[in-house]
């Protein structure tokens, strides 16, 4: 084994991307992307469809060479190397299994070319199929396998030559929800076991949050934020990230004084005002699960009276639409089934809620820009 989960990633970046730019005609798909990925790390590129994730992955693979910028792998400059001169395995959304070859022949496709002995190839194929949980399936053809099984064959094929880097482009998006959940765990487990540096592209924030060591959030060809899942969720760097990862309600507000916000005529304290100049217009974000209703101290900051305007039943919890008594601002709040029962929350009821200062995220982007972004 090359690494196990206790080994911390080394400081030396395994994959280094510097100022990468890629254009398609007039359109800039990647705009000066810089990123370091460490040995053994599992990194997710997360972003909406069309933001350039695949383009970045293909540039790393050498399948579509960038217009500007450099890429080095394992200390070697591979900026303009063809794919065959780089050291990676890749799994596509479509799996791209060769339909006329058996599972075993698919897995050994790259080995045959490296002139391994027949016995070595057979052992290696058996080992890999075992690894992905498909022992004894080597003689089948891809069409005889389920989607999830095909995906694992593709994974085995990509890993066959023991590449230093594993690239996965939306590997789970074509699968059923249930299979997807199981494969998430399997892929992650496998990756930890092999310690292979992995980049996975996804537009599914939940997938990124559950699988990644680090998430790279992308939008319109630029990186918005790089961080651990907890970091990205709890401290979104931009309004886009806040909106894309998890749910957030946004308000138009003003920074009245350092740490002091005014929105809809209500004064609120915030923990982090990002050092913006007092008086500037800001957008304030709040996650629905941060709205407190229970055990409120009388001197709790940021308390207010709200009316329950609408309740949406979502199984384990309810999403409530709350309207503030003053100002009529709309706040989304998630109430657990427990809380709903204990407090007998009902429509048009008036509640006292508190918005903890550390849960108010302040962004310099004006709210109109955020809305137009969404419409685009």
């Amino acid at each position: 084994m090359t690494a196990d989960k206790t080994t911390p990633p080394s400081d030396q970046a395994y994959l280094r991307i510097e100022d990468l730019t890629k254009r398609f005609g007039q359109f800039t798909a990647l705009d000066r992307i810089s990123l370091d990925i460490n040995q053994g790390e599992f990194v997710c590129f997360l972003g909406p469809s069309g933001c350039g994730k695949t383009t970045l992955l293909r540039a790393i693979a050498g399948l579509d060479i960038q217009d500007e910028g450099r890429i080095s792998m394992d200390g070697r400059d591979v900026s303009f190397s063809p794919p065959a001169a780089r050291d990676f395995g890749i799994v596509f959304q479509s799996y791209a299994l060769f339909p006329n070859l058996t599972v075993a022949d698919n897995v050994s496709y790259g080995l045959v070319n490296q002139r391994w002995s027949r016995q070595n190839i057979r052992d290696r194929v058996a080992e890999l199929l075992e690894l992905v949980g498909l022992p004894e399936q080597g003689d089948k053809y891809p069409v005889q396998l389920s989607g999830g099984q095909q995906q694992r064959v593709a994974l085995a094929r990509a890993l066959a030559t023991s590449p230093g880097l594993l690239l996965l482009d939306e590997p789970l998006s074509a699968l059923d929800a249930r299979v997807r959940l199981r494969l998430r765990e399997q892929i992650r487990e496998l990756q930890r076991r092999l310690g292979v540096t992995t980049v996975m592209v996804t537009h599914d924030q939940e997938e990124a949050l559950t699988m990644a060591d680090r998430i790279v959030v992308m939008n319109h060809g630029v990186i918005e934020q790089v961080g651990t899942p907890a970091d990205v969720y709890a401290n979104p760097a931009t309004a886009f990230v806040a909106d894309f990862v998890g749910t957030m309600s946004f308000f138009e507000g003003k920074l009245a004084a350092p740490g002091q916000l005014t929105l809809a005529g209500i004064n609120l304290a915030c923990a982090d005002d990002r050092g913006l100049t007092p008086g500037s217009r800001v957008t304030v974000g709040l996650r629905p699960e941060e709205v407190r209703v229970r055990n409120l101290d009388p001197d709790q900051p940021n308390t207010m009276q709200v009316r329950v305007d609408d309740l949406e039943y979502l199984g384990a919890f309810c999403r409530a639409r709350l309207v503030t008594e003053t100002g009529g601002a709309v706040i989304l709040a998630d109430f657990s089934a427990n809380l709903m029962r204990d407090m007998a929350v009902s429509l048009n009821q008036t509640l006292t809620v508190s918005l903890p200062p550390e849960s108010l995220h302040v962004f310099a982007t004006p709210i109109e820009d955020l809305a137009s972004e969404e419409a685009a």
Binding site: P82, A84, F92, A96, N113, Y141, V143, S162, L167, R193
Partner: protein, 571 residues
């Protein structure tokens, strides 16, 4: 779990690989260049030679539009132009409704024996165009058993040309219209019926608009086929001059290359127009059908279905008769006085100095064109579609590959005469050889085969080449191990298409054959010219039999042999 076996000492291998890396791009680039060079020589330069010839005088001096002016100043030649337009328009006006009704029966009714009727409609594709003209000579000619039906008119002229052209172009129109009518959205009919729309109104508001692009496309294709066809007016045109026979006379008879070039350029006009319309229409047709469309499922309706059976029986009978009479006549001793069976008409040395050789030359040429053409076209399409090297060159090669369909055979043949027969051209050593016939035939039928190959290749996962690259397997290995096996059905289609067309074509090769390379289809023209109609019919029968035999072999191979190798498609 141990993965220590995974890393072999790969130093030597990776060094060898390093040597291979540039060569992959190099090979792809070299293939693109080869393909472009082939197409440049086989289509672009001959066309250019034709174009420039039409602006030069006999001495090779530039004379502007003088040749054109001379052409239009000659009333006999202008008559031919109008005759050609008239025949083409008339044939189109007849064949489109006939074919539309037939295609409608095949797609929108519950008529029995549809595959049989479809096959019968396609029969003329397996024969040289002039075969139906030969049949007409037997039916309505001076000794014809039905000549009374002409009320004293002669079959040698516009009547004969038109009937023969209708037969010859019928399958082409049916193919296009079956596709157009097959691409319908059943939902539209459900909605229309739910709203209580009368049948005639549904036909007018749903069916016709849905098929309009197919109708336009078919009309242009038929018009072009007729105006550029040479075999039929040659056999049954009599004194009635048309453009195609003018070209032949100007070039072969009078050696007037300038005039031939002018007529060739005129013939290029409808063909280029048809090509442009077809491109345009194709794009619309695809857009018409949303991804959610549900194919139309006709419901049985005994009266309607029987009506269409009757119609199809009559049409299919006429089509079959238009070929069958020639076959029959080829086995008859002396039409119409001695109808006893004989094989004497197949004793070709009696009728034509080359004897049986043209037939064998044709088979050899068709086999070569089929094999070489399939390799060139499929590999070319692969390089264009799946490799990344030289995007400009690949775009150029694709453009050239799409050109031949807009160039009628007669025009292509003329271009070859001007280009390959030019004294300055070192390639003129190929003139009148089998090589040039093979190259000409491959080029003539390049586009349709190229599109077939591209379509098959586009259906393959786009990432196969990427996967191979990541596994450090050069693309030609993947081509051999994966692409070709997957595309085998399409590859066979191309090979058979090339073979059959090589067997039946007359127009391009009529200018290019030599003493030792006369083809069967040309031999038919010569024997007919010499008055040996029965022998001409016999040679035509051989061509049809060979084409149909190859097609039958194709079907068997496709159904029973290929299916065995395609087990991986089955669940």
């Amino acid at each position: 779990m141990s993965l220590t076996v995974s890393r072999q000492p790969t130093g030597a291998i990776s060094r060898r690989r390093a040597l291979l890396i540039p060569s992959e791009n190099f090979v792809a680039g070299a293939l693109v260049v080869l393909l472009s060079a082939f197409l440049l020589i086989s289509i672009a330069l001959p066309l250019y030679a034709l174009l420039s010839k039409s602006f030069l005088n006999r001495q090779g001096e530039f004379v502007g539009l003088e040749n054109y002016a001379a052409y239009f100043a000659n009333p006999i030649l202008v008559d031919s132009l109008f005759n050609s337009l008239f025949i083409a328009a008339l044939s189109t006006a007849i064949v489109i409704p006939l074919a539309f009704t037939y295609a409608y029966a095949l797609t929108r009714t519950c008529m029995p024996a549809k595959p049989l009727f479809y096959a019968l409609a396609l029969l003329p594709l397996f024969a040289p165009s002039l075969m139906s003209a030969l049949s007409l000579v037997y039916i309505f000619g001076n000794q014809g058993f039905l000549r009374g039906l002409l009320f004293g008119n002669t079959i040698y002229g516009p009547i004969g040309i038109t009937i023969a052209q209708v037969t010859y172009t019928f399958p082409h129109a049916v193919l296009i219209l079956v596709t157009a009518l097959g691409l319908s959205d059943g939902r539209l009919y459900e909605v229309a019926n739910a709203l209580g729309t009368p049948k005639t109104r549904i036909f007018r508001t749903v069916t016709l608009p849905g098929a309009q692009y197919g109708l336009i496309s078919a009309s242009f294709v038929v018009f072009t086929l007729v105006i550029t066809d040479f075999g039929i007016p040659k056999v049954i045109g009599g004194q009635y001059n048309v453009l195609a026979t003018d070209v032949y006379r100007a070039v072969v008879g009078q050696q007037n290359f300038e005039r031939g070039a002018v007529v060739g350029m005129i013939l290029l006009v409808p063909a280029v127009l048809a090509f442009a319309v077809d491109r345009l229409v194709n794009r619309r047709q695809v857009a018409l059908l949303s991804a959610r469309a549900v194919p139309y499922q006709p419901a049985p309706n005994t009266a309607r279905d029987m009506g269409f059976v009757a119609y199809c029986l009559v049409v299919a009978f006429l089509v079959a008769a238009a070929l069958g009479v020639a076959v029959w006549a080829s086995f008859i001793t002396y039409w119409p006085w001695n109808l006893s069976f004989t094989t004497a008409n197949y004793n070709f040395p009696r009728f034509e100095p080359a004897g049986w050789n043209p037939y064998f030359t044709s088979v050899k040429m068709a086999a070569l064109a089929s094999i070489i053409g399939t390799v060139v076209i499929f590999t070319g399409a692969y390089v264009i579609e799946k490799t990344k090297a030289f995007p400009m060159a690949r775009g150029f090669a694709h453009f050239l590959a799409m050109l031949p369909v807009a160039v009628p055979g007669l025009v292509l043949g003329l271009g070859y005469v001007f280009f390959f027969n030019a004294p300055w051209n070192p390639l003129n050593i190929f003139y009148a050889t089998l090589t040039i016939l093979v190259v000409n035939t491959i080029t003539h039928f390049f586009t349709v085969s190229h599109i077939t190959a591209l379509t098959a290749l586009k259906q393959i996962d786009r990432e196969f080449e990427s996967v191979s690259a990541s596994l450090k397997v050069p693309f030609w290995n993947t081509f051999r191990r994966v692409t070709v096996p997957i595309c085998l059905p399409a590859i066979l289609d191309i090979a058979v298409y090339l073979f059959i067309n090589a067997m039946t074509t007359v127009s391009a090769v009529i200018f290019l054959y030599g003493a030792h390379t006369k083809l069967a289809s040309i031999s038919i023209v010569h024997m007919d010219e010499a008055g040996f109609i029965a022998a001409a019919a016999a040679m035509a029968t051989l061509i049809v039999a060979t084409s149909i035999g190859v097609k039958a072999l194709h079907i068997v191979l496709d159904r029973y042999v290929l299916a065995r190798f395609q087990f991986w498609r089955r669940k």
